[in-house]
């Protein structure tokens, strides 16, 4: 009896490591797709967000997101500050899949992800302090609330909304905040003078490294969301996850080639992420064919979304809004279209979930951002932006030995 508990817990711990390494994936992807003069800044944000995520989640987040039956309401719950090992927290009586500590750490690793998503979208122009402050509040207070609505047993759960590993609860939550922040910050200087200008990322190998690491990490993100090592479910989830990613790569390849007559590697990288985000909401419900279809559609959508957002002059250097918000929505709705739960009523539930979370995130992130803007300000000075955040906020260069060629 206890052996299976040990096995399950082992699996969850492996998933923790994989989700952890996603933060490195985000850090390298985001720094690769931005300019060298802002590299230290973006890496700094990504490093701090992990620390902030873990600590706020320890202090408050975990107990807001999983308040436990007696503290949970439909919309909000809280069982007190800090971590308190419950009786039986280390045995299968707590949960057949993991100990209390494993539970906490797996969820804490997820928490930081939401803010990391924002970090990419606002890159190259947001003030470091303002971003960190935003992250503390958003991870500490907003993320756990919507998380609780479904995973903590709140009203979306009661309703029948389904979100396996967080297309909505993690990716869209980050995506909505990214959207609001991008609107409030405005585009980078020079991005939309008349027509749209490309501001190329400075280090494509770093971006590729990031996407491979994210895929690698997603095995734990989705695989761990089974919450036990159950061979059938977990291995299915790994297959649907991988095939959706592969399909996303393929269709984004063809779509972007069809439109631009060029092999744009950043589109294929986004296509892979689109496949991954797309399958996340229903990774355990899909057949092989479903997974491939979801991935293929995600790969087409992502290319169109990147183009559309650019047309709308929403300047998102790494495509975070397209990947995490647009495809996060697609993945959530796909649960109503493909797989074991497909059907109009499920589609309805999914739609309501998207809407409810969207409204809440738009409102809260707007409020947080507007307060920051009015007080300490959101955006660096024009001089700082042109000369680079690294030299101004950090007094350093990311590559002091290289002769750069900044654009």
């Amino acid at each position: 009896m206890e052996t299976i508990f040990t096995v399950n817990n082992l699996w969850m711990m492996v998933s923790i490591f994989l989700v952890f390494i996603m933060h490195l994936g985000f850090a390298t992807l985001e720094s690769g797709l931005t300019r060298s003069k802002n590299t230290i800044n973006i890496l700094f944000k990504n490093v701090m967000v992990v620390a902030i995520g873990l600590l706020t989640y320890t202090f408050i987040g975990f107990n807001m997101m999983y308040p436990g039956a007696e503290f949970a309401g439909g919309f909000f719950g809280f069982s007190g500050f800090g971590l308190h090992l419950p009786e039986n927290g280390l045995t299968s009586a707590y949960n057949i899949g993991y100990t209390y500590w494993t539970d906490f750490l797996f969820q804490a690793m997820f928490a930081a992800t939401a803010a990391t998503i924002v970090s990419g979208a606002v890159a190259e122009r947001i003030k470091l302090n303002s971003f960190l402050l935003f992250s503390v509040i958003y991870i500490g207070l907003v993320y756990p609330v919507t998380g609780m609505w479904k995973w903590g047993g709140g009203f979306l759960d009661t309703l029948g909304f389904y979100d396996f590993a967080g297309s909505t609860l993690v990716h869209s939550v980050g995506g909505w905040a990214a959207l609001m922040a991008v609107i409030m910050l405005g585009p980078r200087i020079g991005k939309y003078n008349g027509s749209s200008r490309a501001i190329e990322g400075h280090n494509i190998p770093l971006a590729v490294l990031g996407v491979f690491l994210l895929w690698f990490g997603w095995f734990g993100f989705n695989g761990g969301s089974v919450l036990s090592a159950d061979p059938g479910t977990v291995s299915l989830v790994l297959v649907t996850t991988s095939l959706a990613a592969a399909a996303g790569a393929l269709s984004s390849f063809f779509t972007s080639y069809a439109i631009f007559k060029s092999y744009d590697i950043t589109m294929v990288l986004n296509g892979i992420l689109a496949g991954l985000v797309g399958i996340t909401a229903g990774a355990d419900l899909m057949s092989v064919t479903d997974a491939i279809l979801i991935g293929l559609i995600a790969g087409v959508l992502i290319v169109l979304a990147v183009i559309a957002l650019d047309k709308l002059k929403l300047d998102d250097p790494v495509g975070a809004i397209a990947v995490h918000l647009v495809i996060g929505i697609w993945g959530t709705l796909a649960v109503g279209i493909f797989g074991a739960k497909a059907g109009w009523s499920q589609f309805g539930h999914q739609f309501i979930g998207v809407l409810a979370v969207g409204l809440f995130c738009i409102t809260t992130s707007f409020i947080i951002l507007i307060i920051i803007k009015k007080t300490i300000g959101l955006r660096v000075s024009e001089e700082e932006e042109i000369e680079g955040l690294d030299i101004h906020e950090h007094g350093m260069n990311a590559y002091p030995d290289f002769r750069t060629n900044e654009h």
Binding site: G190, E387, H394, G395, M396, R403, T404, N405, E406
Partner: protein
Amino acid sequence: MKKIEAIIRRSKYREVKDELHKVGVNFFTYWDVTGIGNEKQGHVYRGVTFNTSDIQRRFLSIVVNDDFEQITIDTILKIAHTGHIGDGKIFVSDINEAYRIRTGEKGGETLK
């Protein structure tokens, strides 16, 4: 023919380029250099704070016919200017001859 070499702030490059285009200077060559001058920049690294006078700048090399000399210089002086220490310098010298490799032609025509 004159060679105009301008050492400017990197952050001013784009504006200078656009303005040069407007006054009809469409051809030039640039690269990034390190300048040693009056300006200092504060750095911090692993607990050591220091000021460096080695500052990254952009070097523009523009060869023009004599009638374009003044407008080119004036444009750079106007646009690359911030008024803070470190705006850079312009140096002017003579060019004896210019060739266009594509056609083999030489003389002032090659600069148009």
